[in-house]
């Protein structure tokens, strides 16, 4: 392969891997939006909480990566249920703008709880050091492949849950038409608690997967939030398959921009994607409506 094409191929591979990981929190965001109808900015701090819960399990308790990832999911999910119940839920009657503002305050509050407990320094997970695998001109890290596999498994489980279980169907029913769901006797409170658990759990899982690639600190979630929102908006806010498509688009797009931009501008690329989609096709690639 000529070096230029090899570089592009490598960037696309990196982008697909980054996009698959990005899809996990983006699904969380879009699922919460589909059921509760507000952009929950508290997703950022829950990603951080997941990353730190996984850090405690992995480094302090010495667990391997897989159980640590599960801890990240559970911890962020539980915090998500509790914080929604006591902080955000009372705002929902006041409208989505007030709720979104409260969620920004919530995310800064939770981020500082993490900062209070762990300080500002960068931390890394306890990972075995492995040589990159080479396929022709393309390099892939074994840890990246494991992260990819974890993200794919989490998504397959989620799709199975939504498609085949009664609770999953109830969740989709509420997202589709809350009034009709209520008439059919679906408990909206139970569904909203569940979607917060799953959605914030996925955010926590995503936070840890992002951290596994680099390091973590209290701002881990906030740094990722622009890309996560870009993924959800590009795919269509409220559409779960859309979040996957959007995340892959944004992931590959951010990597390809490295051809002519420094990596520091990565998040800005996500923002450009948001502006582009809102201008040309506001409902996103797979979304239903944005009005």
């Amino acid at each position: 392969m000529p070096p230029f094409l090899a570089e592009i191929a490598q960037l696309v591979v990196n982008g697909v891997m980054a996009g698959t990981i990005l899809a996990v929190p983006a699904i969380g965001l879009t699922a919460i939006y589909a059921v509760l109808r507000f952009p929950n900015f508290a997703l950022a701090s829950h990603a951080t909480i997941g990353a730190f819960a996984g850090y405690v399990a992995n480094v302090k308790l010495g667990l391997p990566v897989l159980p640590s990832v599960l801890c990240a999911f559970l911890a962020a999910g539980l915090v998500g249920v509790v914080s929604d119940e006591f902080v955000l839920k009372p705002f929902r009657a006041a409208g989505f703008i007030t709720t979104a503002i409260a969620s920004i305050a919530l995310t800064i509050g939770l981020e500082n709880l993490v900062r209070f407990a762990f300080g500002n320094e960068l931390r890394g997970y306890d990972l075995p050091i492995m040589r990159d695998w080479r396929f022709g001109d393309i390099r892939v890290g074994p840890q990246q492949l494991q992260n990819l596999a974890i993200a794919v498994v989490a998504m397959v489980l989620l799709f199975a849950f939504l498609a085949f279980t009664r609770t999953g169907k109830a969740m989709r029913a509420v997202a589709d038409n809350p009034m009709l769901a209520a008439i059919k006797g679906i408990n909206a409170d139970a569904v909203s608690r569940l979607v917060n658990f799953v959605g914030m759990g996925l955010a926590g899982l995503g936070g840890m997967l992002i951290g596994l690639d680099t390091t973590i600190d209290p701002l881990t979630g906030f740094r990722a939030i622009l890309s996560i929102f870009a993924a959800a908006v590009v795919g269509g806010l409220g559409s779960i398959p859309g979040a996957v498509v959007g995340a892959l688009t944004v992931g590959v797009g951010e990597e390809l921009c490295l051809l002519f931009l420094s990596p520091d501008y990565r998040s800005a690329v996500g923002f450009m994607a948001i502006l582009l989609v809102l201008t040309l096709r506001p409902r996103g690639i797979l979304g239903a409506r944005a009005y």
């Binding site: 920004i104 305050a105 622009l226 929102f229 870009a230 948001i274 009005y291």
Partner: protein, 304 residues
Amino acid sequence: MENYLIAMAVTGCIYALMALGLNVIWGFAGMVNLGLIGFFAVGAYATALATLKFGLPMVAGMATGAALAAAAGAGVAMITARLRGDYLAIVTLGLAETIRIVSANTIWLTNGTDGISGIAGPMRGRLSPTEFNLLYLGIVAAIVVVAYVLAERLRAAPFGRVLRAIRDDEQVAAVAGKHVMAFKIRAFAISAGAIGLAGALYAHYTSYIAPDLFVPLFTLYIKLALLAGGLGNNRGAVVGAFLIVFFLESTRFVIPWIPGVSAVQGAALRELLIAALLIVLLRYNPQGLVPEQLPRLKLPAAAG
């Protein structure tokens, strides 16, 4: 000590200008701006670059800052005007983050994370620090008074009435023949312009700006000011701004006295307190200290 107090009064005035600006969209029109700090940064950087690199006079620099912030505000409002309000929330937050990223990394233009120093202040060299502080306080106080009068005019004018109608029910406003999109875009531009002007004033006062100053927490300060004073009310916006400066400064003095808390933990505690206060005020006291009073229309005397 007197320099510190005057500096706090200047900060209070700058916050008041922003709270007045935010009130136009949040209080009157019910629109959200989660990236207030982005427009503040646009104003600050624009005037710093205009005066240092292009040699424009300060007044022209500040006007450039306000105009660019207003244009950015009109831009985001235009892109999201047809969509549900939550898209505006996402785009404003994204804009602020993007501006921070670009200002931190475009070193040839903004000097990166080192920031820009040596921004001129009016007669800074010729006055003692106290005199300079007093002069600047006079300038910002005058601007706040003008902004307050303009905001009051706007509130009572038909323009303000339409914004309140949009806030309470967009569809009704549209049915009444109001061009809702145009009103929203203009309101957002006015608001962003005021915030940009505040950023420009800040830059010329402190003479130094850097991306680290423009953090999302700052956006919460102004929201807190408006909520404390009273949403939809210009007097409340000004009162709230000074209350917030007082509150922020007092936490700065109190927290170091808490035993067993490191510097980082103290800073975290302070931000936590600010976030918690915003949530509590938003929930239990959305009216604020000075509740919104709708301008009374003079009713024609009843016939007969």
